[in-house]
Each structure stands twice: as structure tokens, then as C-alpha cells.
């Protein structure tokens, strides 16, 4: 595995990026009380919690954080083990008439977001759905956009964008890894 790695984002910039994204969420959502953050498991959830903490610091109101379990089925993690899925949705808050922010670490083809978007609408009738992603690597296959983006990255198809977060990986770091088969 002589993979070539290139670090594109790490602390303290990563913290500042998340802070800016929190500001943007507040700016785009007129009523902070009508906000629900939905993290796409697993790194999207860590990001959602961090964004919620930042929003709390800035705005003095804490948006509820919900979880959608799509991450273990993502196409860049083929080796994920099979098994029963538990608690695909962890949500206490109502989504009706709320502004929903779907949060993921990387947005790429747009297929995950589309599925998550459809799932959210089944829970109720949100007023608006926004997408926040730490990394937008472009190359969409569907007409889906990220409304709030931490960093845009140009990566070719054979490259992989790895987001590592302290909560799960012990370090905050985004890197581009070259596949060498």
C-alpha cells in the first residue's frame, strides 16, 4: 500500500472552517428555533454535534441533532461488515415546518444526499432542507447542491478524500489519498 497522501485541512483551520459553517447555517436560517441538524452517520454526526456546539456559542440556542444511518453503506467503504441495522433514525424533534440541515463529511456524487433527503421528507414536511458538507469534491451525478461547504477540493476519480475526526479517529485531518492498485 504505497499510497500517496496529501493533507488538505487540519487544525486549527478545520476548527475555524466549522465555526464559519455554523455562522452560515445561522445566517441561512431565519429562525434558529426552527432548526434541526441531521448528521449522516458516522462522521456527519460528529460534525453535526460540533456545529450544534458552535451555534450554541454564537447564538445561545441549541438546535436538536438527529442521526441518519447511511454512512456504513457508503460506496467508498466497501469493506463495512454486514449485519442488522439498528436505529437508522434517531430523532426526537419534529421536522414539520423546520429548516433541516443534512450534514455529511464529504459530498461527491450526490446519491447519499438524495436518499437522505427523501428519507427526511418521509418523517414530515420540513419547510426547507439545506445541505452542509465539510468537503465538496464536485463531480456530482445528480443535480444536488451543498448549500454550506467547508472546503472545495478537486480530486480525480482514483483519489480518495479521507476525513478523520478526533471523535472517531483521534485526530482532525482531511487528506487526499491516491489509490495505487
Amino acid at each position: 500500500m504505497a499510497d500517496e497522501k496529501q493533507i488538505v485541512l487540519e487544525q486549527p483551520e478545520l476548527g475555524k472552517t466549522i465555526r464559519r459553517m455554523a455562522h452560515e447555517i445561522i445566517e441561512k436560517c431565519a429562525e434558529p428555533n426552527a432548526l434541526v441538524l441531521i448528521g449522516i452517520r458516522s462522521r456527519g454526526v460528529h460534525l453535526a454535534r460540533r456545529l450544534a456546539r458552535n451555534i450554541e456559542e454564537i447564538d445561545k440556542s441549541t438546535p436538536p441533532v438527529a442521526v441518519i444511518d447511511v454512512s456504513r453503506f457508503r460506496d467508498d467503504r466497501v469493506a463495512a461488515q454486514a449485519g442488522p441495522v439498528v436505529g437508522a433514525f434517531e430523532i426526537d424533534a419534529s421536522v414539520d415546518d423546520k429548516t433541516i440541515v443534512l450534514i455529511d463529511d464529504v459530498i461527491y456524487r450526490g446519491r447519499t444526499i438524495r436518499a437522505a433527503m427523501e428519507a427526511v421528507e418521509r418523517l414530515g414536511q420540513p419547510k426547507r432542507i439545506l445541505v452542509a458538507a465539510l468537503i465538496d469534491r464536485g463531480e456530482r451525478e445528480l443535480p444536488i447542491r451543498a448549500d454550506i461547504v467547508g472546503k472545495n477540493i478537486d480530486a480525480v476519480e482514483r483519489q480518495r478524500v479521507n476525513v478523520r475526526l478526533a471523535e472517531s479517529d483521534g485526530i482532525d485531518q482531511v487528506m487526499i489519498v491516491d489509490w495505487r492498485s
Binding site: 447511511v70 457508503r74 460506496d75 454486514a82 446519491r111 428519507a119 418521509r122 439545506l130 443535480p143 447542491r145
Partner: protein
Amino acid sequence: MESLKQVSSVISIADLTNEEIEEIFSLADAAEKLRADRTASGQIMATLFYEPSTRTRLSFESAMQRLGGSVISCSDMKASSTAKGETVADTAKVVSSYADVLVVRHNWDGAVQAMAEHADVPVINAGDGSHEHPTQTLCDLYTLRKEKGNLRGLTVVVCGDLKNGRTIHSLVFALARFGANVVTLAANGMALPQYVIERLERDYDYALAPVATDDLSAVVTETDALYLTPKQPHQLALYTQVDQVIQARLSNMAAGLRYDAFYMTRKQKERMKEGATDVSYPTIGPNFLRQQRFQDTVVMHPLPRVDELSPEVDKDRRGIYFKQAAYGVPVRMALLKFLFDRCAKKGGAAKRDAISFQSPEPIGPQCRNPNCVTVKEPVSSTRRFEIVSPGQANALILACSYCDHRLKVQIAGNVVSKRYYGFDSSLASTFSAWLKKGELALFDSIKEAEELGYEPFKSGPQRVLMSEAEMGGALSSMSAQILRDCREPHRLLILGVRGAGSQLAQRVANEIAKQAKGKPEVGEIEIYGSADDLRRLSPDDSNPEPLNLKDREVILVDDVIFTGRTVKSALSIIFRSARPRSVRLAVLIDRGHREVPVKPNYVGKHIPSSESDRVRVKLREIDPGERDQAVIYTIMNPAEELRKLPRNAEAAAK
């Protein structure tokens, strides 16, 4: 009397509550006693069959005779008074004076409902077109209950023709009501109609998830969907056709499911388009019987069968379709007994209380289903609709009260002020208030409204956003971009959102044809449609093969993008049908105000607009005599406007 006959008729499985169905099942359990008691002695049942049937008719006649009653029937309705031009309404009126209950099968959707409205005795629907067949559903449910003890929590796989089979639609709704899981395995191009799926989601909180075929490959080769009850659904609901890895996981999850029954349907040749009869159709054979995991799975079929079940299944204990047919008699005995009892009690059950719309004007919306009784024989029916959605996007969605087909209405008017308005979701509450007061008029087109002397209402001047020349230029440069981004031009599919979008899709395809070698395939997607939500427009719109989106590069085309919800719905429909390689979005005008994270790839023009603005694209194909242009104007709440026009309103009221 008027209310009694409506209450007692059984047109749809929805006319019976779950408790009533349980009551009928208990009566069926005691069929021998009903027979001994000669419960219906002295009563007469008339069978009116406009379409051939052996099973349904004979089992009804047998049921009535076992109850001690007698039967009158006409062997061939087509050759009798109908041939002389008698309407179904008249037939129902006349025959209901000869009998105490009518059993009717008709080839038109909704015909039995129309007859029930004119009959003085209860009417039982023995199948109306491709609409419903409630007594078959009762037999199916009864069979499942007999075999499996309970309906709640069962997982039933319905396979084959899920589009044309009336038994299937009734059965799926009934299973949903009793809390069973439904797995669908459709033959290619014969998936459940969109309106059935929508009703499952809306009324029963069902969630849709796809299942990979591998899992059920013992039986069929097609892929379709898995419905699960609200108890366990959200796990699967999330992963609607995301990618192949997820598909594989889903099939693993599905592998953990216990399948209680397979419900096969017959190839409905008589309801298929010409030339579509040779598509592959799932069958159950020895392979299925050998599978360990299907050892407790029963196989059902409404019969008659064509070749969906191999003879091996007949000999197996799991093939219970002959038993299922045999239950037809006790179940129909029970239903007749139940209806006679209810008549004796002078009704009692509550009527369905949906808000229905009947046009106060001589012209108004018309059901678009060519086989609906309201189209086939308008004198026997009143054009009546139920309001399904009080304002999604810019259209009001109606469902025909006879055949359930969906209809989108965009022009609404007020009978008193004689003004018409383009429907807008922000006006939904005003319109529903008018509906309650009987002041709401709905029109299929502006032309209709104007013929009745309605005047348009718009406030502020209309401003032209895009001239004919600009529109032509925008389409040509968008087409050039599409061509440039396209990897394989021959795999391209230009898919217009029905309406202006379809016309623009045709124009884009023509532009591409000018700039490249061949003309790409063009299709149309109907967001609020009932059955065919994806349709081919060119090169050959008579080609019965369903539009195949798998691995295609799809260009979705619409005139204006606003909240983005239309595109979101279109994506849902597309992904339910297949997994395309990519979907890109081309719109003539982007007016902002997005509510979902959708972004067009190709935009003719960006227009800043306020939310109360209306942007309309006029095309010569749709508005004859008009030039191609896009206009913007402001609308006002008509309730406010009415207050400003007291003189007009009073004059009209007189």
C-alpha cells in the same frame, strides 16, 4: 333510502372497516350454520356480468343458493339491453326492482359505483375494469388468516403484473390496513402505479425500499421494492436505491425476513398494450419449492392462471390456490349475510366523509382515464372528485370519485366574483373555504374559464422576462452545453417534466439533433400522475416497451425552477424506476427561493423574483396564438381582492 343504498354497497374494500371485515370472517367460519339456517330464504340476488368470469360468478351464485336464496342472472349483458343502448344507470334502476342485491362486474373503471348510485338495493362490486375487486380481496385475506392465523406482521410477496391487476391494488391496501408487510416483485414495466404507492405512504405510513433481486432469484429475475409496516420501516426506508453496495446490504437484510406468502398474479393480456405480451414474467416452479427459506411460504393465486405456476406447485402443500378458490363461497355467503343484516338494521355504518368537489359550472375538470365510467357514459355518473392534496406546488390534485385516477388542476375560479386564478399553494386555504361554501370552480384550462365569462385576475403589470429570440438562444446554448458534457450521446435521454417541460425537452432534443448526428430519445415524467409516470415521447411514442433509465445519462428539463420540490419528486420517481448513470437538470428560468438542495446544471436565465411573483413560460405548442415568451407578474390573495370588489360580487350573486 337514499343514504341506505350508498352505505350498504361494497364497491371498494375501503367501504368495509377492519371490524366489519373481521365480522364477515367470523360469519364465514360459521358458513355451515348459515347454510343450515337458510338465512337468505326468500331473497333474490341478481348477477350482472358485463365481462366474462367463471369463478366469481359461480361462487356468488353458489353462495346465495346455499344461503337458501335464489339467483336471477343474465348470461351475457353485452348481448342484452346494453346492445340496445341502455345505460348502466337505467339497468341498475330497473334490475334493483327485481332483486334484493346486485352483483356486478363491468369492464369500465367506476361503473359499479355509478350503478350503486342509481340502484335501490345494495350493489356488490365483482370487479370494475382495472379498479377494484373487493370480494376477491376478502377471499385472499380470509385464506391468509386461515393459513397463518393472523394478518398483522405477515410478510406477503406480491409478484407479477402489479400494474393492471385490480385484485392486487385492493389486496395491497387491505394488507396495509391489517399491518402486514408487502414485498413487491413486478414484472418489467408492470410495477405498482404511483398513486397506489402514494396512498400507502400517505394513509398507512408505509415506507418504500428496494430489494436486490438476488435474494428472491429463486423465483424471479426482476427487481422491485419492499414495503414495510411502520413498526420496522425506517431502517429500510432510508436506503432507497443509493448504490449497488447498499443494494447488496438490503438484500442481506431482506434475507433475514420471513416470507409468509407469495401472491402470484396472472398475465393480464386483455389489459396490456398491443405487443407488450412477450415481456418476461416471473414464475414459480421447482426451484422455489426446494429453497429451505421458503419452506413455510404459501403460494396464492387469484386464478385463472396462465403459466406462472408450474404443475409441481399444485402437488405441494404450499400451493394453496385451490383452497383459496374454495374459500370464495363461504366468504361470499358471509358477505351477503352481512349486507342483508345491515339492510334490515337500516344502515348504521358511517359513510366515508371525504370532501368531494362537484363543479358548480357546466364545464369543469374531467377524469383523464379513458376507461372511466364518467368518460364512457357521462349520463350515468356525475363528475365528482375527491381533493387529494390541497395545494402541492402550483396544482391542486383531485382523484376521480369513481376510478381513483389522479388529475392535476391549475386554474381555479370563484363562482361569485367570476374571476379565475392560477392555482398557488399559498391560496390553498382560500380555495378550501370556497369549496365549503360551494363557490369553488375548477377548470382544465384558461380557455374553459374564459368561455364561461370568467376574467383573469392579476395585479400589477406583466413584464416580459424573455422574448422569443432570447428563448431560442438560451435553448440552443443549453443544448450545446449538454452535448459537450455528455459522455455517450446515444445513451442520452431528454426527460421533460410534463407540461411546458415536455415541450422544452422536445426542443432541446431537436437542437441537439441539429448540432450532433442523431436525435436523442425524449421522454416525459408526470409528477402527479396516476399510472404511467414515465413515458416515451419520441422517436416512437407507440413503442410499448417501458422507458428504460438504467445506466442512462438523463437530462431532466423543466421551464421554471422555484422551490425545487418538483425536481425532488422527479428524482424520487426516476430512482424508483431504475438507477441512471447520472441525472442533470436543465431549466429555462431559475427564479431562486429553493426549499430543497437542488441545483440546475443548465440555466437559460436567472431571474430575481419575490415569492409572491408568478413566472410563466408561454410556448406556442401549448398556448396557440401566443408567441414564445416568459412573463412575470404579481398575484394578490383573492380573498383580499374580493373585498375590494363588493359591487361585482353583489351583481354576480343576483
